[in-house]
Amino acid sequence: MALLQVEDLSFRYPNGAQNALDHIDLQVERGEFMVLCGPSGCGKTTLLRLLKQELAPAGERSGQIFYEGAPQSRLHNAGAIGFVQQNPESQIVTDKVWHELAFGLENMGVPTEVIRRRVGEMASFFGIQGWFRQKTDTLSGGQKQLLNLAAVMVMQPNLLILDEPTVQLDPIAAADFISTLQKLNRELGLTILLAEHRLEEVLPIADRVLLMKNGSVQLCETPRKIGAALKANDPMLFALPCAVRLWRELGAADDCPLTVREGRDFLVRHDPKPAAAPPEAPYRHEEEATISLSNVWFRYEKELPDILRGSSLTVFRKEVFCILGGNGAGKTTLLHVIAGLDKAYRGKIKIGGKPLENYKGSALYRQNLAFLPQDPQTVFVKDTVRADLSEILEVMELPRFEREEKIKRIAEKLGITRLLDRHPYDLSGGEQQSCALAKVLLSEPKILLLDEPTKGLDAGAKRSLQKLLRELKTDGITVLLVTHDLEFAAETADRCGLFFDGEILSADPPQKFFAENSFYTTAANRIARGLWKNAVTCEQVLACCKASEML
């Protein structure tokens, strides 16, 4: 008997034009690790919430959900199915870590002595002892999400459902979180249903992958078969790990590789020719420097340590510059200092050739520099996207009749026309990002600063962002972005810089930058390391494979 069985489930939201879920059949076996993926808006969240009856959305529904062979409505123990949502911040209910851990057990009326033992056990398993008595507010994003997981696990669920839990986390915290899930599955035999778009890390540990599209199940296969099962031109192809993509594009007959190691073995097996290595692309730049920093120092308060320690940087016109670096290194602070939100206490900053301090009032932000913060929600203050966009034009003193036209043009450019009359908070992460970008672009900037623009985006949205940045570049805009996403940087940047210890250490074109790193580099580069120098993106490695006439 399957732990969870879904039979012919259809669902439609009130006022929905079409079914959000369409005839879904699904079986989750006991002890299975199932990964649910698909482009955003394909119905993943709706399906997961229907499986957890306490969170089921209101709407029209048909079909059956069985849990341990009995209809779902007979399940009265809220702890039997654990649910972790996307946003680490808003799931935390109480102010202390220990209280958060105990919260679910308190609700179930468990006596104090039992709670004490179970909470202690969980805190030890998840390595929470060190911050057990802290306030929840002092935790990092990764710790918060781990706490949310532990607070669910303390209720001893049989099935754990997670709705894109790593979207808001940086890559290191995300990898930690996923390896904790793997540990739960392997060591406790816990059944896990995980919606996730970071397939690079989850495919190797998943038992089955369920791919959804437009509210129905497109396919449900083991990870090694998923590569072959996808149709050509399927946008999900770009979400697959590099090794799977190489294998698929080459049409090999052997087993599909999933990890970097298997990818390397796969290439070596098929006789790569060193001569196929791509030449290093030449680096050219415009003469005009639009952003220049020399020896900039910054700290938040007199007593606190320096965040920027003599940072220097020059970005030229029409350049896309990516700043990479570890978490909490101060990359965001660097953007804030360049955007004039924080003031450096020492050093020179020039924007468009003019010292930063010479911009008075809002002059810096008028047709000059725009900054998009990490959380796109912070950009919106009105009830509709249209009102938000129109506000910025009002401030720029554009006559009323021109505003409509301008909004129409930018909406078309970013593909958000159908979102204009929605509430910004009702949009998905990727949609919010596009609308926020539209808002800052309306101020007609020459320089665009982006903080983690790929956070929470699926593969399709990332590709649109990439395309947009290239277009902006041809429009003469300089883009400086901070990111954790090495793949995105390798494919998009003209130059990349590593931010470490308060300084930008190296600034090189991506091929050179990644080829000289051995840990901090793309998966494609790690696969091709030692075979082809300068092949850093999946496309470049693929081109090398084809040039070596593999298969």
């Binding site: 911040e89 808003s90 935390i92 209280h99 057990l105 900054f371 913060p373 950009v379």
Partner: protein, 300 residues
């Protein structure tokens, strides 16, 4: 454990119920009894306990605050109160009496004593202890408080972020007053939508973990140990002796119209001893623990 000093906060680690009873009895006795011996004992106990809780460098600053306050209270009373029968001298035609001077000093002792004890109270009875005691009486309210304490910092951080994001778009970023007011209003409206959104997700997380079931229990990290029982017994005994003694009047003392003689009967001496130990109790426990800690540390 106080990480900064590396020393155990011995008294503070007792059960909140015991601590609360202790502070209430000390504060009540110190505030309402007018016997110079008892008043002085309360002040000394307060000073000593405060000193053990003190971080380095706080002492001088405190002295700068309490000493002038002491003098002010002590001097103000004889200037404005002309009760008493023994005039010392005349000020603007009004007598300054010996009784009023004594009473002023006694009042100052009481005020400073109570203030010091309040200071110790706020150091020891931290928010979580208070919430725990409160939670026993009103569990729903205490959960609400805990949620509020969680929400406030998140709210403040988000509104700061929104405000900066708006500034970086050059929207009403000027320094003029209309711009500032407009900006505040815009951020506030955004924050209302944000709060609703946040609350929806939080309530989903609560429902998913079974909130709303009948028979909710209230968990806390505090346990009532044998040592808590022992301290409570000692404390109640000392309290009973002091309170009964004071109630039957063995320590009766008055400043007006003439300063009376300090009662020194065996009964009165017993009350002085009991209250003396009571007010020194925290300092004794801290002192003992410091010695024990030094001994253990020597073996690390």
């Amino acid at each position: 454990m106080d990480r900064r000093s590396g020393k155990l906060k011995a008294f503070g680690s007792y059960h909140p119920t015991v601590l609360m009873i202790y502070f209430l009895s000390i504060l009540l006795i110190a505030a309402f009894l007018s016997n110079p011996v008892l008043q002085t004992e309360a002040l000394l106990g307060g000073i000593l306990f405060c000193a053990t809780l003190q971080r380095r460098g706080d002492g001088l600053r405190d002295l700068g605050f309490y000493l002038p306050l002491f003098l002010m209270v002590a001097v103000t009373n004889p200037i404005f109160s002309h009760n008493g029968v023994t005039p010392l001298f005349f000020l603007n035609g009004n007598p300054v009496t010996l009784e009023a001077v004594f009473y002023g000093i006694a009042l100052a002792v009481t005020v400073i004593g109570v203030l010091l004890w309040c200071k110790c109270y706020s150091r020891i009875m931290t928010e979580d202890k208070f919430l725990y005691l409160f939670g026993r009486a009103a569990p729903k309210l205490s959960l609400t408080l805990s949620m509020a304490l969680r929400f406030i910092p998140v709210f403040l951080r988000q509104s700061r972020r929104v405000s900066r994001a708006q500034k970086a778009m050059g929207l009403y970023a000027g320094k003029s007053i209309p711009d500032r007011v407009k900006n505040r209003l815009r951020v506030m409206t955004a924050m209302i939508s944000w709060s609703l959104e946040h609350a929806m997700e939080t309530s989903a997380s609560m429902k998913a973990r079974g909130y709303g079931n009948k028979g909710r229990t209230n968990f806390s990290l505090f346990r009532f140990r044998a040592s808590d029982g022992a301290l409570l017994a000692v404390l109640l005994l000392l309290l009973a002796v002091s309170a009964v003694g004071a109630a039957v009047g063995v320590t009766a003392f008055s400043y007006y119209p003439k300063v009376s003689v300090i009662p020194l009967s065996p009964d009165a001496l017993t009350v002085y001893a009991a209250f003396g130990i009571l007010s020194l109790l925290p300092s004794i426990i801290e002192g003992k623990e410091a010695v024990v800690w030094r001994f253990y540390r020597s073996r690390i």
